[in-house]
């Protein structure tokens, strides 16, 4: 029984087939050692941050103890303490968790909105397309960073969820535009027409037939957006318009460096967070570039 199965399996294997999407991506990563290293370190860092942060009690962590003010790295605090005597390492882990959660949620949310709107407008064209493109033009012309800052100051009681929503309102337009332009050309292809002649409904065509054909573009767009969103969140928190002070984030940790005294004498307050941001951004970008190359046959290394 097992034998025949093995023979069947080997028969299947012999039918040579060109590599599928994931095989191409895997091959690209095998070829590009830097991207492979980035991918592995990303997985390890993100994984350990989430597991570790899950075991830390945030209220306990943020309790001020003046006796430990600006304690140097040592036995009690591996990475020292800040002005309020709070453990930097704990803040780093929880802060990274918060920053990543925000970046991931914003990426998924804007990705979802952008893809749906982009596909629908690109497919139907006509007045639907016109209306949405004007809305998108409007969002692009207004200075979104300023408006996010204004929103954050106006909204009385905000938490991670509201922050995610405020960011998402302004960030879906880029994805929508990219997807729409590709959907526009894809929807005029013959196989879409062929499917129409079978009596397939419009929305089935859009999401079951057209979307898989744009998947490579989607993956690239989402990965690069992710890096951008990490940067945007930490930037806002650095400026003091991100998360509330009681919630640590990578940006708030880096912003300790705005105090010249800490900048000079307590490097352990801001350097680890800055390095972590650097590592995350570089790694995400290298991974994103490798995926982008694998989506474009002319640029592939593997």
């Amino acid at each position: 029984m097992k034998n025949t199965e093995a023979i069947e399996a080997s028969k299947e294997m012999k039918v040579s087939s060109p590599p599928t999407g994931f095989q191409v991506i895997a091959r690209e990563f095998m070829k590009d050692k830097l991207a492979m290293f980035s991918l592995i370190s990303l997985i390890v860092v993100i994984g350990s941050i989430y597991i570790w942060a899950w075991q830390i009690d945030q209220t306990q962590l943020m309790r001020i103890s003046l006796r430990d003010k600006l304690a140097e790295p040592g036995e009690k605090f591996w990475l020292g303490a800040d002005k309020g005597g709070r453990d930097i390492l704990g803040q780093l882990v929880v802060g990274a968790r918060n920053s990543l959660t925000i970046a991931i949620s914003v990426t998924l949310l804007t990705g979802f909105i952008g893809v749906v709107i982009g596909l629908v407008t690109g497919y139907f064209g006509g007045w639907i397309d016109n209306i949405f493109m004007r809305i998108i033009d409007f969002f692009i012309t207004i200075p979104s960073l300023m408006i996010i800052i204004v929103f954050v100051t106006i909204v009385p009681k905000y938490n991670i969820l509201i922050f995610i929503l405020i960011m998402s309102v302004f960030l879906w337009v880029g994805t929508a535009r990219v997807i729409r332009s590709k959907a526009l050309s894809e929807s005029r292809r013959d196989y879409i027409n062929a499917s129409k002649t079978l009596g397939t409904g419009n929305f089935v065509i859009i999401f079951k037939e057209m979307m898989p054909n744009l998947s490579s573009l989607l993956i690239v767009e989402m990965t690069l957006n992710f890096a951008g969103n990490v940067g945007l969140e930490t930037g806002l928190s650095f400026l003091g318009f991100g998360l509330p002070p009681s919630t640590p984030s990578l940006g708030t940790l880096v912003s300790y460096a705005t105090d010249p005294f800490i900048m000079e004498n307590a490097w352990w307050n801001w350097l680890p967070a800055a390095l972590l941001i650097l590592l995350l951004m570089l790694a995400i970008n290298y991974v994103g570039q490798a995926i982008r190359r694998s989506a474009d046959a002319r640029q592939r290394l593997g």
Binding site: S17, P18, G126, Y191, N193, A194, G199, T200, G201, N202
Partner: protein, 337 residues
């Protein structure tokens, strides 16, 4: 012939495209009928409105830029007036379509089996199991070896001929009464062409469907069609049973077309060509004989002022009167006025 035999009746169909706020008719007053168990060939040069005719029937045009007027009667319903969702019930189930380029007409990311299954999902109440059986049956019917293996493959893994067979399998999956084949053999090489045409004829014999075969290849017409409609500049200029058309072509355009096919036993080294080009939509004169410009040696008096179709023998219709006085430029003669 009785009325029951008529599958599809088109009355005075005008399909116009909008160019700078004016509609220009690419199909200009076409009337024809398709009967059960018949292959009706629509022949003409590029840009004469053949494909527009096909897309009008199945409603596959850009609704923002196209205007369709006239009647396309199927089962007592005017397809030209149907709303999109009603039309979706007809598409696939009653009318199947075969496309010109078999690669671009298949979704590159869906397995062959799934693509054939699609129509069955919308139009039948078959279970998953029954659909699978039907898919394999269809693949076998269109002459694909190893149907169960092919059903799991992707379009790029098949050859051109196989892909076109798959397209045909998709088109006939719900046993439609009408099949519209828009240049089904253009993208294929000659040996495969013959196989595909044989397959079409065979399927038609089995199912009794009416086929509208759109082509510019007169060889294909002679081999497969029962009746032929010759189109020029959006109008039907000649309609006849296939034997009659090849034996007694009347209209100058039909004769020129036939004359321009290279003959195997001909000693003429130069190919015969038709002067000029099909006039563009915008510049097309909408009065008089539309072919007059391309046979300038025929005096203007030979043409009708408003050319209509005349029945010259049973079932053989010719537009305009100029055919009576037509002769090729190289030869003398033709009936004097």
């Amino acid at each position: 012939m009785n009325n029951l035999d008529q599958l599809l009746t088109i009355n005075d169909l005008h399909t116009g495209f909008r160019i700078k706020d004016t509609y220009y008719d690419a199909v200009d007053g076409v009337s024809l009928t398709l009967r059960r168990n018949e292959i009706l060939a629509v022949v003409g040069e590029s840009g004469c409105g053949k494909s527009t005719l096909a897309t009008s029937i199945i409603g596959l045009y850009d609704h923002n830029k196209t205007r369709v007027q006239g009647e396309i009667l199927y089962n007592g319903e005017n397809l030209a007036l149907l709303k999109e969702d009603k039309l979706n019930d007809v598409r696939g189930e009653e009318i199947g379509m075969i496309f010109q380029d078999p690669l671009s007409a298949l979704n590159p990311l869906m397995r062959i089996g799934e693509q054939i299954e699609e129509g069955l999902v919308y139009h039948t109440k078959m279970s998953k199991q029954e659909r699978n059986t039907r898919v394999l049956e269809l693949l076998k019917q269109v002459g694909i070896p190893n149907p169960d293996r092919i059903a799991k493959q992707f379009p790029h893994q098949l050859s051109g001929g196989m892909r076109q067979r798959v397209i045909i399998a998709i088109a006939i999956s719900c046993k439609p009464n009408i099949i519209i084949a828009d240049e089904p053999t253009t993208a294929l090489d000659v040996t495969i062409q013959a196989q595909i045409l044989d397959l079409l004829k065979e399927l038609q014999n089995e199912t009794g469907a009416g086929i509208v075969l759109i082509t510019h290849d007169l060889g294909v017409v002679a081999e497969t069609a029962d009746r032929v409609v010759v189109m020029y500049a959006g109008q039907i200029i000649e309609e006849a049973p296939v034997d009659e058309l090849f034996a007694n072509p009347r209209h100058p355009y039909t004769r020129s077309l036939l004359n321009s096919i290279p003959q195997m036993n001909s000693e003429n080294e130069k190919l015969q060509v038709i002067q000029g080009m099909v006039p563009s939509l915008v510049k097309l004169p909408r009065v008089g004989c539309r072919f007059a410009d391309r046979i300038p040696w025929i005096p203007a008096e030979a043409h009708e002022e408003n050319p209509t179709l005349h029945e010259v023998s049973p079932g053989h219709l010719v537009r305009c009167t100029c055919w009576q006085h037509f002769h090729f430029e190289s030869e003398k003669g033709g009936n004097p006025l």
